[in-house]
């Protein structure tokens, strides 16, 4: 049985004058200890997917339909008490910006110990000892002193390590990391990713890594979902997706990587922008930006189907595969 099984998840936002669909029929599975990447441009619904998994959407967002089975139990149906037991305990989350994630008026120790004591019957001292052990695991020097410090006394990289340590405090089955290095210095990004990979592997923790960085996905994850305008448009093993993308959007993303361009040349980009939630075009949401779009693409939403090694939602995938255009595009 898989650790996490998301079925047909639809999330909506009730705005003042209309209700928009932010996630549309998202389905995927995650095995125990598996690492999954979710990629896409800003606004694709990656973060909303992450928050939905913990049932943490705040108004006006809400889960409209679908199931999120975590260890066999539907997160969508859980009451507040069950949800509290889930959050931080069985499923932990690492937020995007460590500068604003920790509470500025509470010490690191208070924020770690409260998390432990919210889920386990421990004395304050026992909780403190566990916190120290976990801080050591993320290579924080002199952890006893750190516990007495406030977040503003620590650097961004240090804070994100502490947040990783908090995520690991209760030995969760799954960690959801929402762009955990976007707000950090490039030199620290690699350290943090390496640390997360090491800890996930050694503790057999599942990881959902939300990012727009395909390089990070290829280094960190075994499987990848590509999202566009609230839908999964391509899914499969990370190696397959990076080396042989099928969907024109995924191809565009990979072609846009700086490594795909010779020095001095203009970077390749996908023309246009991701549509806003209120103005998702009919048919395949990507069609206005896609040079292969046909009338069918403009009228009907493509189903996600097996194609070769991956799953892809594109009407034209077969034509593309035999098309010279594609060879050209990948050259």
């Amino acid at each position: 049985m898989s650790l996490l099984s998301v079925r047909d998840l639809t999330v909506k936002f009730a705005m003042r004058d209309q209700t928009v669909t932010a996630l549309n029929g998202i389905s995927f599975d995650l095995a125990k200890g598996e690492r999954l990447g979710i990629v896409g441009e800003s606004g694709a619904g990656k973060s909303i997917t992450g928050f939905s998994l913990m049932n943490l959407l705040s108004r006006p967002g809400y889960i409209d339909t679908g199931k999120i089975l975590f260890e066999g139990e539907d997160v969508v149906q859980m009451n507040d008490k069950r949800l509290r037991n889930l959050r931080g305990n069985r499923m932990a989350m690492i937020f995007q910006d460590p500068m604003v994630t920790l509470n500025p008026v509470l010490t690191i120790g208070q924020q770690m110990i409260e998390t432990l004591m919210a889920h386990r019957k421990l004395s304050h001292e026992e909780a403190r000892q566990i916190a120290i052990v976990k801080l050591r695991e993320v290579y924080i020097p002199s952890p006893e002193e750190r516990l007495e410090q406030y977040p503003h006394e620590l650097s961004g990289g240090m804070r994100q390590r502490i947040i990783i340590a908090i995520a690991l405090l209760l030995d969760p089955q799954l960690i959801i990391a929402d762009e955990p290095t976007t707000a950090l210095d490039v030199t620290i990004q690699a350290d943090i990713m390496e640390l997360m990979l090491e800890l996930c592997q050694s503790n057999q923790v599942g990881l959902i890594l939300i990012t727009h960085d395909l390089g990070v996905v290829s280094q960190m994850t075994e499987r990848t979902l590509v999202m566009y305008a609230g839908r999964i448009i391509e899914a499969g093993r990370t190696r397959e997706i990076i080396n042989d993308p099928q969907h024109p959007y995924t191809q565009g993303l990979i072609n846009a990587l700086p490594q795909q361009t010779l020095p001095g040349q203009r970077l390749k980009q996908i023309p246009g922008n991701m549509p806003g939630l209120a103005s998702i075009p009919a048919g395949c949401a990507f069609n206005p930006r896609c040079k292969y779009a046909t009338d069918l693409c403009r009228s009907r939403v493509p189903e996600i189907v097996h194609y070769g090694e991956v799953e892809v939602a594109c009407h034209e995938v077969q034509r593309l595969n035999s098309d010279e255009d594609r060879q050209e595009a990948r050259a």
Binding site: M54, L56, S58, D80, L83, R84, N85, L86, R87, G88, N89, A92, M93, F95, D97, V100, T101, L102, N103, P104, V105, L106, T107, E114, T115, A118, H119, Y150, H152, I166
Partner: protein
């Protein structure tokens, strides 16, 4: 810590200097002191002689320096009406006013935090809407009107509370007589305290609500939820502490303002405090007393603000007083 304190004290002295300058300048423009001191039968020559003796013909600077020098020694002049040192007159009235302000502060702190937090957590509930509606009413009605209405309803119609004065007070120390030692004292201070609190309380409810709602949207509150923390702990430990930081700053200024507001409340309730005394002093053109009042109130402002800044530094870990130098 010492450098910070020194800096604050220098600032306070500068503010007091400006206040004394303004107060002194007013003194010169409130009419001729001789008219209050001597009768109409005194001849012009004697008046001139008296002016010379009192130093009223000296230059502004000389007069101010003399005034400031005396003030530093605790001599703010002699009240024309009471024939006593103005400072003594005020110090005798000060406890009554401070107790009134204290009573109002208790009401404000006691009610604004729970009401502000509740209306922030449940912004759409009917009770929240009622509280917010009433708060608008409270802010809009002037203090003296609230006071008169309360006297009419609770003193005249129902007779639950006395309508004027301090009632039975108990001597505590020096001039200090307290209302909080006897049941009669308590009964007398309740209505004036509510009246004085009636404008500040809604203001603070709205302030706490607005700050709290903003804090509840923050990443660290979302993160606390993601850690599975109990909602009460999130509200009262994670959110409230951050909410109160700006509230403390505003609160410090408002305590000073409340001392000034007591003029209205004390007048309506015939409360024998500084505010009531000030109004009488104005009616009697008792210039030294008016000037002394301005300086004492200015001093209270400066002291409360300095204390509040120090408290703020203690509550907010990102302000490190010990390391705050020049």
């Amino acid at each position: 810590m010492f450098a910070y304190l020194a800096k604050r004290v220098i600032q306070a002295v500068a503010v007091m200097f400006v206040i004394s300058l303004i107060a002194f300048a007013i003194q010169g423009n409130l009419g001729d002191p001789l008219r209050e001191l001597v009768g109409q039968s005194v001849s012009e020559e004697v008046r001139q002689q008296l002016r010379d003796e009192m130093g009223l013909n000296d230059s502004f600077v000389t007069q101010y320096l003399r005034f400031a020098g005396n003030a530093l020694q605790g001599d703010l002049g002699t009240s024309y009406f009471f024939k006593e040192p103005a400072l003594d007159v005020i110090l005798k009235k000060l406890p009554a006013t401070l107790e009134l302000v204290f009573g109002a502060t208790l009401i404000i702190v006691g009610f604004s935090v729970p009401l502000g937090v509740y209306t922030a957590i449940k912004p759409d509930s009917i009770l929240s809407r009622i509280i917010m509606g009433l708060s608008i009413v409270g802010i809009s009605i002037p203090v003296f009107l609230t006071a008169i209405l309360m006297i009419f309803v609770f003193s005249v119609e129902y007779g639950w509370f006395p309508s004027y004065g301090r009632g039975d007070t108990v001597q505590v120390w020096g001039y200090w007589q307290t209302n909080f030692a006897t049941a009669d004292g308590w009964l007398h201070i309740i209505l004036p305290s509510i009246a004085l609190a009636s404008i500040m309380l809604p203001l603070f409810v709205r302030l706490i609500r607005a700050e709290m709602m903003e804090v509840l949207q923050s990443e660290y509150v979302k993160y606390a939820k993601a850690k599975g923390i109990n909602p009460w702990r999130i509200y009262f430990v994670h959110a409230l502490k951050n909410t109160l930081l700006p509230v403390i700053t505003v609160g410090g200024v408002q305590i000073g303002t409340m001392v000034a507001y007591t003029i209205l409340t004390e007048t309506v309730f015939q409360w024998p405090g500084m505010g009531f005394m000030f109004l009488e002093a104005v009616n009697r053109v008792d210039t030294p007393l008016i000037v002394a009042y301005l300086i004492v109130v200015g001093f209270i402002f400066v002291v409360t603000n300095t204390i509040v800044d120090l408290i703020y530094g203690l509550v907010n870990p990102t302000v490190n007083i010990a390391r705050m130098g020049a």
